[in-house]
Subunit: 244 residues, 6 copies
């Protein structure tokens, strides 16, 4: 007897994914990505400087910052700027986004420039970090195209695409792309970041309740591979048109 997901989705079904380029106008890349009700604004900002540890090496840097508007969530969370520090969860997520995006960039081709990906969650319904990575990739490509249009680069620094999705075991059944209702009722979940060559860039699986077996892990990885293939296709479709 099949489990009914709260959303009525099939176990291997993503939420509706939209990727809207040029959402704001000042950033070199600006994307509003939605995974169902989760909406994240991802901007890419180019700066002609690198952090101190890279100065003079001819290499660039790609980094990320993550934030959640106080009322992106069901109940209001404190504003981190007002509390005076970013929480552990925020730091963990922004480190993850940064690593994920660096995995598809040739930093020598970028030259001594930094691209900062700001991922700000306007509305949260589970999966904000995977939506952020998936959207930030598109913002990153737009920022690189902006540099290319200004003849600032001699080679393309993007060597592949990156997308991310969550998977988990909900009421005993492996499912793809957890929403908040599933996430909060779920023992095991895993965030998976992959590239378009089918390689894994990050795996972060956590079981606070039920530890997962090797066969469950295999099922989860299979779902993730399916979902990421769809997300990579959505990124390509979004990037095929002209930037608004």
């Amino acid at each position: 007897m099949p489990v009914v997901r709260p959303s009525g989705r099939m176990p291997d079904q993503l939420r509706a994914v939209t990727i809207e380029r040029g959402y704001t106008r000042h950033a070199e890349g600006s994307v509003l990505v939605s995974f169902g009700q989760t909406r994240v604004l991802c901007t890419a900002s180019v700066d002609n400087k690198v952090p101190p540890f890279l100065r003079g090496k001819g290499e660039g840097w790609v980094t990320a910052e993550y934030g959640m508007l106080p009322r992106a969530t069901h109940t209001r969370s404190d504003r981190e700027a007002s509390r005076g520090k970013q929480g552990g969860r925020t730091l963990e997520i922004q480190r993850l986004i940064g690593r994920a995006l660096r995995a598809c960039v040739d930093r020598n081709a970028l030259g001594e420039r930094t691209i900062t990906l700001d991922c700000d969650v306007l509305q949260a319904d589970g999966g904000t970090r995977t939506a952020a990575i998936t959207g930030a990739y598109v913002a990153l490509v737009d920022a690189v195209r902006w540099m290319q249009a200004r003849k600032e680069l001699t080679r393309d620094p993007i060597h592949g695409a990156v997308a991310a999705v969550s998977v988990g075991i909900y009421q005993g059944v492996p499912v793809l792309d957890l929403d908040y209702a599933e996430d909060s009722g779920c023992d095991t979940d895993m965030n998976v970041v992959m590239n378009d060559g089918g390689g894994f860039i990050e795996l972060q699986g956590t079981a606070e309740g039920h530890a997962f077996r090797r066969d469950e892990l295999d099922a989860l990885l299979g779902l993730a591979e399916t979902g990421i293939a769809e997300l990579l296709a959505a990124q390509r479709a979004a990037l095929d048109g002209p930037r608004p």
Copy 2:
């Protein structure tokens, strides 16, 4: 010979104003307000608690927080959460928004509840604080209606409307609703908050360069009165329909 404003507007002409209710779904009130290219997301969150200094007095509280996404601006600004504190400008603006909104609320009718107005700038082009006040008022009314629909209030705590606009002297001519191009090239500007009874709630005029004369002040106040009348009408129009 008339001054040409960078935007081609007439001296007494507002930018296009839009007020979109129900922009996000979790908050009790959620409004995206645009003054031209300036876009601010205003959410109103209801909490059944009051700050310590009000406990046990039967009164409510209305407060505001203000933030700017790092790339809302032409060049990226540091994220305040990452720097570990809110800057003076941020604190000054959020104090202003809070005072402005409290001016139209009967805090006894609200009971021991706090309404927090989060005003987050998604895109900045001058006038973010006046757009924030104008939009936050609508979010506040929606939050009050939400409480009324749940029969939580016996009296209406809203006793009037509040809106805000900037005015300034650009190339010697008093103009209404400065955009970024005018703001940065302007000696004198003033933010004006008024209610729908024609009363002044806040006046904040600053002249770093040319000090303004009494007759200039009078002209600026006249422009502000005109602009605020239009903004109050836009608020009423937005609130007339059903909440999306």
Copy 3:
């Protein structure tokens, strides 16, 4: 029937104002200013450097910091150094003082120097920010004279005088220079900064309770003009003698 102000003053009467130069000995300018029981120590410090955003431009900078001793007030307030941050009110006031003083300085004539005005409230009884601006102007002039005596300047960077006063509506009557008893029982108050040419540099009017009408605003501005004329005279008188 006339309102009786708590202090017995007439509506257009300032408190006793004293301006004592050379109050401390290390600073290039050091003034103890009193508006009645409000006492603020204003020092001007000259530094042969400018902030990063001005380096190499040949211009100077004038900035202010404001503090309140913990027991300057009726009940002890927390020490901001101990709480680990300056509050919003402090930041707002010090930004105001800085803008006000910059309005009378030719920063090119100052050269690449910074003058910092530290305004520390020894005793508070309402109107600390207006006393601070009025006193800081005198400290600033003393610091400029100190530089002139050392032949460090080729032109006088001071192009006019600046003073400030508060006005408000107390029990329905517009009054000048509010003390604490009036301030805390008052719906509307406004801080006004003007120069000796009769121009307005800052207007900050706030009505948390009763919004003020245009005619009330006009009456308040008239009182402020009167009061500031007296304060400018007191500054001139103080500066006429030799520095102690």
Copy 4:
């Protein structure tokens, strides 16, 4: 042709592991764990309180904090207490340790108590977080035994053992338990936390350079299972004797 690991170990060979109980005397559990040259002091402290979000629910809490002495590393790192905040890496690791240990604890059996695991790295040579988890488990059991000896518990809150190890691909070959020389020269590494039922509690795999294929992942997981079986045996051996 076989790869030579810098340490001369076989690909599936752990470093020498020692677990010394009772290393310090005040803590309810105190363990010095060594994975080769990596040495971590893990203490377990029992407190008869729980965090606010658990008060009155009858459940306990297990949490962890992680630190690195400034000169645990090849070059001195800043002291986090002196910099005024814990870095993202620290927060990420201490969150991981806390989750890992909670996975083997029945928090209802613990009652309203908190056990805090402090993991302080005295000397670092790669794998500090996996050593910390492995050692903290032993300290946790000692703290529980201490409570049992005082008859404070009616049921055993420990329901299984937890250990952790790193795996990675070094010069194309999957290897177990990376030391610093391997870690810094390695594209892909993964930290694996498992319980003694063979279930996975955490998987954190990262590839900044070369993305790993599914078959590589399978090889890494196999190595991890082997290594963790040995670590679980070492924990049991350590716990078999009397506490010094």
Copy 5:
């Protein structure tokens, strides 16, 4: 041949000491103390609460905070409130002042009240901590008298007087009450806190340059005893009159 102190004082001569009670009006005790050009404002604030560690024990608390106005010194120092933390020197001094004053208070007689001594340096010329202790004692007595006048105490909580002075070796000669010129040119200095029974409460001697011998220590202690006797007399004289 005698050493000439920069001030022309004899080796065992204090600077001119003045103790002005009632310097500000809101605090329960308020004293401006001068040791020559060093001027410290000491206020004593009474609060009917104690810190958490003392609640419900029937005992009171006496604590101190110390600050230096930014331009109390020859060159301007950063404002600690603006830097966001108190420096080590500040914390060390305020801990010293608190311990010194607690040494003359019967905390049971005080009841569950806290007296906070704020010592703010208006002008610094060496010896600010010893002036602060000497002045804070007088402010403390005034605060106790204020409570006595309101019949809040059944017994006198003050059991003796406390004063402090610095001594040091300047150009090989032991001298009393170092001013800034001596302090900065001096290898060894010691701060001594004593009570009016001739007992030592604190000794803090430091030799960064020349380590001091036992006979030098004896000479310094002798000078300190002399100086403190004079300071205790000055305190008594100040407290003999009515509070202004």
Copy 6:
């Protein structure tokens, strides 16, 4: 009738002192020092830079940082890194250690280098600061020998030895080297730092309860001289062998 010290020691008897060199391997000097149950890990780190105030002067710097592991004490203390600041006690101690060690170093002979002494308390039982100074001296010498072995110094920058001990009055009797049981039941204690020429470098005596008389002070100083002579001998013995 003789007082019985809780440990059964004679009044002039030190606890067992051990000094273990080469305790960790990365630091240029690394010493585990024990005074009885008090154990402090002292590392010396050499950096080829000096703080800004010394740049370009050809002088070196010696500084210290102090920390206590959260469960070094009977009950767990908060981790300072997690609280976001170092407490006053910590700052006071690390300033003391730095001054003490600088007193035996010729900073010109050191050249533009900084040696940082990290003193981290693994287990506390009273006297952590005196153990830290005594151990840090040995770590400092090892770091200097390391530089000498690399021919980085032309002259020996160490001009004497430094050690420290506490003394106090326990139940009316002056005793040497207080442990925690004595320290917490003791009115008066003093930390004494001396060099091997018999000179005093620091004296810090505190009497929160009973003020001490001159003859008591003399007795305490006598005990300290005795104890420090033994500690200096222990340092010499430790340094005589080869570094492990």
